[in-house]
Amino acid sequence: MRLPEVVRHSWTVASKDLLIEFRSRTAIVSAAMFVILVLLVFTFARDPTAVAAVDLAPSILWVTLTFAAVLALNRAFQLELENQALDGLLLAPIGRSSIYLGKLLANLVFVGTVELIGVPLLALFFNVTVWPYAAPLALVIVLATIGFVSVGTLFSAMTVRTRVSELLLAVLVLPFMIPPLMWASRATGPLLAGRPLSDIIGWLKMLAAYDIVFVGLALLLFPATVNE
């Protein structure tokens, strides 16, 4: 009976966050705009005659998604700052891990939505064929996103109450994002070039290992970031 309870509680926390997000829609619209603007920056910053779009696409994709994720991660615990909402959440009769999982879930939905907007736009702006590789590409994106959102959610619980929270979170989380980012972008390259899935299975395994390790670790460590 323990497991379903954790799932139910974390879903309650996540749906609370998502409902707030859905009612106002400020953050998600800003994040989507941000993704579009970063893609535009890349469009105008590159020399289209020098590098083929398909060679550049994986880097552009991952840079854009990383920046969007870093910006989005701040949101989760910022919501709880007003009116000491975090204290209320901590007093709720649910486990700390449910709070973390709930926040993680909400962040994943948020970043996932941004990615759903970003990837088609990348395909459109840079004329890259994405559709035939949609399923494996989605797998790479999901695995990488879980990896860095898990670490980011944990860190944002700590940085949110410091003075320079946005900047500090970016500085802390980027070194952790870079390994999964590196593997994901190495996997995206062959994928978009039409290579078989067996070429990237090593990267997928690394990403999965990273996810398992860091989600587990964050579950263990999260109580230490909020205990009063």
Binding site: F155, R163, V171, P175, P179, M206
Partner: protein, 235 residues
């Protein structure tokens, strides 16, 4: 105070021995056939790299124990180890390019291990920044411990990447599953250097630890002083 003095002694001894190791490395150790004199930097670069990474692992271990035992000494050790690790990572990142210029023909290359040492350095700086940003000592210790543990867990992923990427970096020649493929005289010099760097790490950490210990005593005494002052005023 005694701890601080001990730390100073160890550090000065280690610095003297470092000079000694370098005399041995430059004068008594043969030149490498392909790389010539540039290879001499290996005797600083590799021990510093080993300690830069080990320091991160020690930060992580101290952090794990801190979260269980809540002993402020563990937190102090982790902070000290992180600061020394930062210095060692900086040594790796400066000696690396100096070697890279003649051998690779470029100061910097985005080679896997080089890049990841840079991240190790950034991880340390982030750790120290987080410590600075949090004012409450207990909260600072907990947050730092969380980041320290995550940092330690990231290191094996860094190590994996070394073998997964095609790299320009020389593959490990001492720390590898088979026997070290190094001529005995070079190996001895290198081992001596590793010993000296170990001593340097220990010396620096002890000094840093003693300093934060003294600072805490001072702060406690400062509060106590203010307290007695108030009492005297009352009397």
């Amino acid at each position: 105070m005694r701890l601080l003095r001990a730390g100073r002694w160890i550090t000065s001894t280690a610095l003297l021995l470092l000079a000694g190791v370098y005399v041995r490395a430059l004068v008594y150790t043969p030149l490498e056939r392909m790389q010539g004199a540039a290879q001499k930097i290996f005797y600083v670069h590799v021990p510093a790299a080993i300690w830069a990474e080990t320091a991160m692992i020690l930060v992580g271990l101290a952090s794990v124990f801190y979260l269980f035992l809540k002993d402020p000494r563990l937190d102090r050790f982790a902070a000290a180890s992180a600061e020394v690790g930062t210095v060692f990572a900086a040594i790796v990142l400066t000696t690396g390019p100096i070697w890279g210029k003649p051998i690779w023909g470029t100061w910097w290359s985005w080679d896997a291990r080089l890049t990841l040492t840079l991240f190790l350095f950034l991880l340390y700086v982030g750790y120290l920044l987080l410590r600075n940003a949090v004012t409450d000592p207990a909260e600072r210790a907990r947050f730092a411990a969380v980041l320290g543990i995550c940092g330690m867990v990231l290191v094996p992923f860094i190590h994996f990447s070394v073998y997964m990427f095609r790299t320009l970096h020389p593959m490990p020649i001492v720390l590898k599953p088979s026997a070290p493929s190094l001529p005995p005289s070079m190996l001895v010099t290198w081992l001596l250097s590793l010993g000296v760097f170990t001593l340097l790490y220990v010396g620096f950490v002890i000094q840093r630890y003693a300093l934060s210990d003294l600072r805490e005593q001072l702060e406690a005494a400062g509060d106590g002083g203010r307290g007695t002052g108030g009492e005297r005023g009352d009397g």
